[in-house]
Amino acid sequence: MLSTEAVSALTLSLKVAGLAMVVALPLALFAGYALARWRFPGKALLTVLIYLPLVLPPVVTGYMLLIIFGPNGAIGRWLEQSLGLVLAFRWTGAALAAGVMAFPLLVRPIALAFAAVDQRLEDAAGTLGAKPGTVFFTLTLPLAAPGIFAGVALGFAKALGEFGATITFAANIPGETRTLALAVHTALQRPDGDMLAIGLSMIALSVGALAVGLSEFAASRLRRKRRA
């Protein structure tokens, strides 16, 4: 039923968004915890950096990624020379772009969830002999889980549909970086592409709706739990 083009775009999108989440989640947990719990110099600057992709034109974010991670960028060149890792114009680069764009949506619910965990419970755990790391994994993380899940669902949906930064940083290469959104864009450029564009759009619509629905469900569980 789906054309090979559509299947290729969907699987690539899932792969790109999946990798973006796997790499971004640990960072988002750390950033979310830091924003929710710690006071440190430069906190305001970190907040701005994390949320910047939300408000910048995506093409600007993509361009900045190109400057930093591109073949001539400071980090890009270092990655290529020392690790043989090339990001620009590769599917991993699409994942980086998707991850950066999705990061604010991932961090925000996670930070709120960590802030909502009652620190008096953590104090109580301390008096029972638990070390800080144990307290984090036995209390803080499970209690923040609905918020973390909400963040992942939202971030995944965002990563799946990312367009501007991806096309700027990773270009539009069939089978390599042509994700769902890029495939829709490409189909729209073709005189006979309407049906393909509609089909791809329907896929994007259902996956996005599912992810946002899951995210809302998790958030409502978190709210219920907090009231209890």
Binding site: L121, A124, A125, T127, A130, T134, L143, K225
Partner: protein, 361 residues
């Protein structure tokens, strides 16, 4: 033995406290804002005093001189907070055993024994959000005991409960006090809890200790007015059940050879009883009055009189070896010519003794 000596300033509040807490149940009493909870947090390791030293069974927990400050997890101080602070995502059983599976505490008492002590068997597989306030506090107490603490701090554990829930949990605390074997520091501003549970009493007011010692002695002391509130000032007497008068629903207690009649309470003859009598419920006479409705007339010796500027005089009397406190008008005290050493009779209305508290010791 817990020895605490701490000094702290926070805003306009100053805490300067030196106390030692031995075995049994020691009550820390004071109005809200007196510094009780702050002191508990410092002992537990949840708050750092500016200066001082905290030693538990010879183990230094905190010493500002030598910069020792053990984190809460290494202090072996069990804490039961005002709100139960159970972990909502864990079953009651996992909560109870948290100190063992997450805290790595060894030599903890047996889960079965603690469940027996606090009546927790039927709660084990429940989720904390299905527990009543009283049940949750019992679980919190069990959880603290199962972390094998060297001392247990109970920070107003009943203050968030309504009257019915308090009545439900008090008998469990009674058992805990006698059977747990762990020294307990019981923080409260409710005198009925203290007279029922405590052996020793420390009174804290405006960040300083104003009195400490055996509970009967401290409670009867005349200088507690400002800390306890005049309304509640009184004394604690010990006696035994002598006999029951079922026809009139009364119980007769024997008190150092004298008799005291109170509304009926349960218990066999010889059961030790603690009894708190408010000073304002005690009147004094120089001769034994006749034809009077008051049933309790105790022969006493005046020990001390404190005259004040206001309408009242506080009189401390001795009944055998015990103290009984009376508040009468200054005018009466002068007219009767009361003076230390004088013989008198203390009159106590039986109905004023609201609920004699039974102590099984």
């Amino acid at each position: 033995m817990l020895e605490v000596e701490v000094h702290h300033r926070a805003g306009g509040f100053a805490l300067d406290v030196g106390v030692s807490v031995g075995d049994g149940v020691t009550a820390l009493f004071g109005r809200s804002g007196a510094g009780k909870s702050m002191l508990v947090a410092m002992i537990a390791g949840l708050m750092q005093p500016a200066r001082g030293r905290i030693v538990l069974n010879g183990r230094v927990l905190f010493d500002s001189e030598t910069s020792i400050d053990l984190p809460a997890r290494r202090r072996r101080v069990g804490v039961v907070f005002q709100e139960a602070r159970l972990f909502p995502h864990l079953s009651v059983r996992r909560n109870l055993l948290y100190g063992q599976w997450a805290g790595g505490r060894r030599n903890a008492p047996d889960l079965g024994a603690i469940c027996d002590l606090l009546g927790l068997e039927t709660l084990l597989d429940r989720s904390p959000d299905t527990l009543s306030g009283g049940e949750a506090q019992r679980v919190a107490i069990g959880r603290a005991l199962l972390s094998a603490p060297d001392i247990l701090l109970l920070d107003e554990p009943l203050s968030q409960l309504d009257g019915a829930r308090r009545a439900e949990i008090l008998p469990w605390l009674d058992r805990l006090a006698h059977e747990a074997g762990t020294p307990i520091l019981y923080v409260s501003h409710a005198l009925d809890e203290i007279t029922r549970l405590a052996d020793d009493l420390i009174v804290i007011s405006d960040g300083g200790i104003v009195a400490s010692g055996p509970v009967e002695e401290v409670i009867s002391r005349i200088d507690l007015g400002p800390a306890t509130g005049r309304h509640e000032a009184g004394s604690l007497l010990r006696g035994q059940i002598s006999r029951h008068d079922e026809a009139y629903s009364l119980t007769v207690l024997s008190l150092d050879g004298q008799e005291l009649t109170v509304p009926a309470i349960a218990g066999e003859a010889g059961t030790p009883v603690r009894l708190r009598i408010r000073a304002r419920d005690v009147a004094l006479a120089l001769e034994r009055p006749l034809k009077i409705s008051i049933r309790n007339i105790l022969a006493v010796t005046i020990a001390e009189i404190a005259f004040e500027d206001g309408p009242f005089a506080e009189v401390l009397t001795r009944v055998g070896e015990q103290y009984l406190r009376a508040r009468i008008t200054r005018c009466s005290a002068e007219e009767l010519g009361l003076a230390p050493g004088a013989q008198a009779y203390a009159l106590i209305k039986s109905v004023a003794i609201v609920r004699p508290t039974l102590a099984s010791r």
